[in-house]
Symmetry: D2
Subunit: 409 residues, 4 copies
């Protein structure tokens, strides 16, 4: 069984880092730290080997994965030189499988960042774009002789479509396609993937499979999918810390979060339209865990000096016994891509597993990976992990060996 | 059913704050924030009403609870003036029930802080001290006409006894008492309590019921007890955050903790002998959750300007994907007593409940309250909470009402 | 010589705290920490005694100084109960001298916060308002038999007038008054004060004496005045830290500042129009000291839980040897009023001194007190202090004693 | 005029980074950020060009500068690969000029870290060691045909000699040499340098030229020298921030500093004997600037994960108006070597200048470079900078051009 990974935003930082890591693991040139599926009890599952994954994808900018990797090395130090050297040829091979994608309805800022030459689809109808995407998926599967293609959206933040609830059924989505509604690119990629039976991961805050119609389609086609918005930093900490305040009956009076980041994500989020969706997907964690509304603000600012690194500073005031006001402040400093990339690989492996098991629809046991886990109300990180571990226990691999298939970039 | 609360260290900050809070709640002069038992699902249990608890205790310093309360108000602002005024008379009533305790084998620093007049027991044998403690417990129960007395140790940190494993049986403890071994005060208080059937809480890092012999005694006498070392600050955060690193396979390279505090606890912990036990009870959390040894250092320094407030600064370096080193830093600023006091009341209520149910021995469902939960290996805070919630579900109060008994200080 | 202090915004936090402090110092009920003029070498100057200052002022909200003081005590703990009790009667005396002011052209948010009853001047012309202000100043001086009245603006932030450069001469200001231009309240207060010979301090970011016409008027009338925007927190730190980066040739790549505060200032600054002036007065420090433009952003957010306390978090990235990127982060937590109030008293005393010496116009030796010191390019805090110390050396009091006049609220 | 630089600890991180930087600047492969002498007004001085400096030195460990540079690149990312490649050959050339030094009386920890083969001088008398050092200096000067050799001590921290005041005269030093007193290595290097007329910089907290006898010798021989302990991190910040508290009459109640670092300096400082000197040199800044004693503690801990990076966390509590307690906390994260190395080059250039001018003895205008500037009481950073700028103004280069001599490693 060979698993293909089709990345939307394949020349971006997260996709590139995921591919560097997968190939470096294949070549035993790096560690597997940061990958949830490389730790017990997930190691008990019969998952496709990291080294066997075959990569391809869409992007809307010119350039190459090798160039992105070089830039990541120079500006952020991740990957280091030795790792980059070890996988450079593999990345070049992958580059040949990356094709031009669509930025339809992704907002002005994304349009400006988009390479002119690449962005030639303004005359196409939504249906034509969908057909092209569908054909790209199919060509990848056929050319690389893949048993399965998992599609992962790791593109930049889009503006939310107005009134997303209007797309709550397959029929509404399809009517929207026919009418050339302002459906954003993420919805087109998701529709094409799921309609063709490709498992789908929405690692962004974008609409995609958060639309009811796409979810209905996945149920109907029995295709596994999950999202949305990878939980890699501030929200991860919220989901670990808020249960502490709740469990101790310490009343959170305010939770101020200030994020500064210097990569293209940061640049796109300078546009308020694109930021809105992001803030929305980050917002629900506290309220759900605390069970009351609190003063909860998230600032996201673009600071070029940080490169691909992200700093979150959070200031939390809480009231305890005798009305005493106390506080917690934290600073989280991480490489955005190094945090996100291993989760992309985890999700690919786990969705491939679900697909192999015939488990279509949303995958609630994957809630711990997402800021806004579709279909799941539980935001307490430890309980989300427990659901994942229960899944691992239920599907513990009983076969003799976790045989690895051929090691291909 | 009337429940008495006997506090070892009754004129200290934690005890005083607990009594202020209980009486202020009785008089509806404050909130119940910070109390775990005042939040669902614990509110479903049939617990003694906070306002009905009757307080007394031992101390080794002169002064009064009212004086401690005044000092806490002036130096720390907790309690505020209105709350203090509301309970001042109640505290004075309680003061009459506080008797001189023992500081036997508590180390040089505690001895120096001890009021000379009070500290008159150097000529007594351990057996004589135990008898006096026993008599004090009994007099309290009789004078106040109490159905049950829960004994809570909230005294300062003692040095650990040398080779505590030698006291692993009731026989060994009793031989030690007979031989006037250097058993510390906490062990004497615990022995007297449990041998007489009083539920016992060890909120300190001291030996007390951490000794195997005391635990054996509690099992034999079917007396509920739990400890040790209330989890109120840095360790609470470790137990909330470490599962996040573990679950995400992010390798913790170092966890440096620096605590500064300005109260008597801080002063006593300037003595390395007393600090050793504290550091030991804080040490196990990380190793257990992470399942590997990491560079883990805890500094505790005395900074008088902080008064009863405590600041913990923690610096955590971790390794993620592609060997990327990242970090988390946090600053926690809390009033030590305001964090600890409500937990004391919670534990009294929950031990009274266990005693009423005939559930003797250690109480693993109370693990979330302690840095070093006796008999429990689980340090993940969310899972510790889950055990408490399961207990609440199993014992859900089916009686018509959670009637409050008479409201007495 | 008796000095009167007329406060614009007299029932606000800063004014109230200044009056509490002055009266508590008069009654020897507090320390003089935080007052620059109570430290060598400023103590060598012949300044009016703090205890001799007589207070009055304008405000646009109903209420009383006593009520503000009570609220500050309850919500922020500053002042404490004993200090408040010591000065309550003095504050009540002062309350009788506070009259209704104007909020003309202060923006929508200030208007909404303004007490309806008080805000009755919409039908008045600017000239009529100025006359009323002038009369209020004069009545205060006469009623209290004052040798001198120093006027201090400590009101909320206003929107800047459009194109402030149009008011660069006395003639232009007066034409604006005649034409009922949208000149903001601060300009009216400043014009009335300086035209009548009252020394004037602009502790706010508002236009007031930052307008060229007001400065020309002060030069013509030889009235000492200074501003603008008291330097109490983040900007104070910038002026202390930026010279370190500059002197060490460490290139500042970005300086991100995030301020959260919970008082009325914070509420008013939620309005972007009012915030603009504030951000402008904060902006110049870095560029002037560093001598190059850097990525420099200041966020100000309203977080009610903080009350009168302010937290500034700053993240500074800088480049050193071999292009190494390093960083400094700081968190500053102060009571806004406790930081500002002593400087108000310092400035009153120093302007009274200048007036006594016949030193009219801007007072560059007072640059250290302001975020945007009018007429001064030097932002290095140590050098600003040095100018103040030189002034003290030049005017060292040679008279026998620094006699205090009568001690009156 | 060719200037040689003789580094004690030449294979250490600071020395290696200084040499990498100097050679990279020579080859125009890096920026000059972090160098004080590369910024106005220091650029007005007629200083030896950075690219013309010729390096050699002593060390007590085997290995090579190239190996240190490789390790710094791999573990800390400073220098980056391109810079390292640009200077690798130059470093190899320098390696040939590095000879075995002495670790006499440097404490047990340094001895353990010392390479056995290199450490062969236990049988030598102090006088024999001094002669060997002297010969090494002379050979370097002759072999490289240098007009001047500046000796810079950048070795690890030593224990202070007992009762250093006993060495307050040249006679006492020489008697100590004759008697084989436990004089530490730093004193031997300094004695040999100054007695032979080589300008000397003590960048460490070690005794060296802090001993009165060495200072007397430098005055007698008219040799310029300065020290001690390069001011690169926490103390730099103290000297920038403490004047702010002092000038504003904000009373510092406590200043807690916690430093964690992962390089060999950190390892050596785990030894309390070696740490004592370090803490002493850091201690004086606050007391001198504040003019009163405050609670001032500095912790230094070894955290291997940090490599050559250092994190300082400082917590400062201060009292302001109305006795209000407020606080400042900062976190400083820097590459120790990247902060120190440019200052080493600055000091070499400035001492060479002083020597050329015939200005012997201590150099108070260099106070800003040191934690404990010998012979200078001024610790206010801005005022220290002002003394340096005054020196630059006085010696402004009037010659036609600042001609660079030949560019040699």
């Amino acid at each position: 069984m060979t698993t293909g990974v089709w990345l939307i935003g394949a020349r971006g930082n997260v996709a590139t880092t995921a591919m560097i890591g997968a190939r470096a693991i294949a070549r035993e040139a790096t560690v597997t730290d940061g990958m949830v599926t490389e730790r017990a009890p997930l190691t008990d599952l019969d998952l496709p080997a990291v080294g066997s994954l075959v990569f391809g994808g869409h992007d809307i900018q010119a350039g190459s994965v090798v160039e992105t990797a070089e830039r990541l090395h120079e500006r952020n130090g991740v990957p280091d030189r030795d790792t980059l050297d070890a996988v450079r040829d593999d990345l070049a091979t992958i580059d040949d499988r990356i094709v031009t994608g669509t930025a339809r309805n992704c907002g002005r800022t994304v349009a400006e960042l988009t390479d002119d030459a690449a962005f030639d689809d303004e005359t196409l109808s939504l249906r034509e774009i969908v057909e092209r995407i569908r054909a790209d998926y199919a060509a990848f599967q056929e050319n690389e002789d893949l048993d399965r293609v998992v599609v992962v959206n790791v593109a930049s933040a889009e503006p939310m479509p107005a009134d997303p609830d209007q797309y709550d059924s397959v029929g509404a989505i399809e009517a929207g396609l026919d009418a050339d509604d302002p459906l954003p690119a993420s919805a087109l990629y998701a529709y094409a993937a799921i309609d063709d039976g490709h498992p789908f991961v929405n690692f962004t805050p974008n609409a995609a499979n958060a639309l009811g119609g796409i979810r209905e389609l996945a149920d109907r086609e029995n295709v596994p999918h999950m999202g949305r918005d990878g939980k890699t930093g501030e929200t991860l900490l919220k989901s670990a810390l808020a249960p502490m305040f709740a469990g101790r009956n310490l009343r959170v009076l305010s939770w101020e979060g200030h994020n500064i980041l210097g990569n293209r994500d940061g640049e796109v989020l300078e546009d308020d339209a694109n930021k809105a969706g992001k803030l929305q997907s980050k917002g629900g964690v506290l309220d759900e865990i605390l069970e009351y509304d609190t003063h909860n603000r998230v600032r996201i600012d673009y600071t070029p000096a940080l490169g691909d690194w992200k700093t979150a500073w959070d200031d939390i005031r809480f009231q305890g016994f005798l009305g005493t006001q106390m506080k917690l402040q934290f600073t989280w400093e991480g490489s955005d891509s190094a945090l996100a990339a291993p989760l992309v690989l985890d999700l690919v492996r786990l969705l491939a597993h679900a697909d192999e098991q015939g488990e279509g629809g949303l995958q609630p046991h994957l809630a711990s990976f997402f800021k806004d886990p579709l279909g799941v109300d539980e935001h307490d990180l430890s309980r989300q992990f427990d659901r994942l571990y229960e899944y691992a226990d239920q599907h513990r691999n009983t076969s003799t060996a976790n045989e690895e298939t051929e090691n291909t970039p």
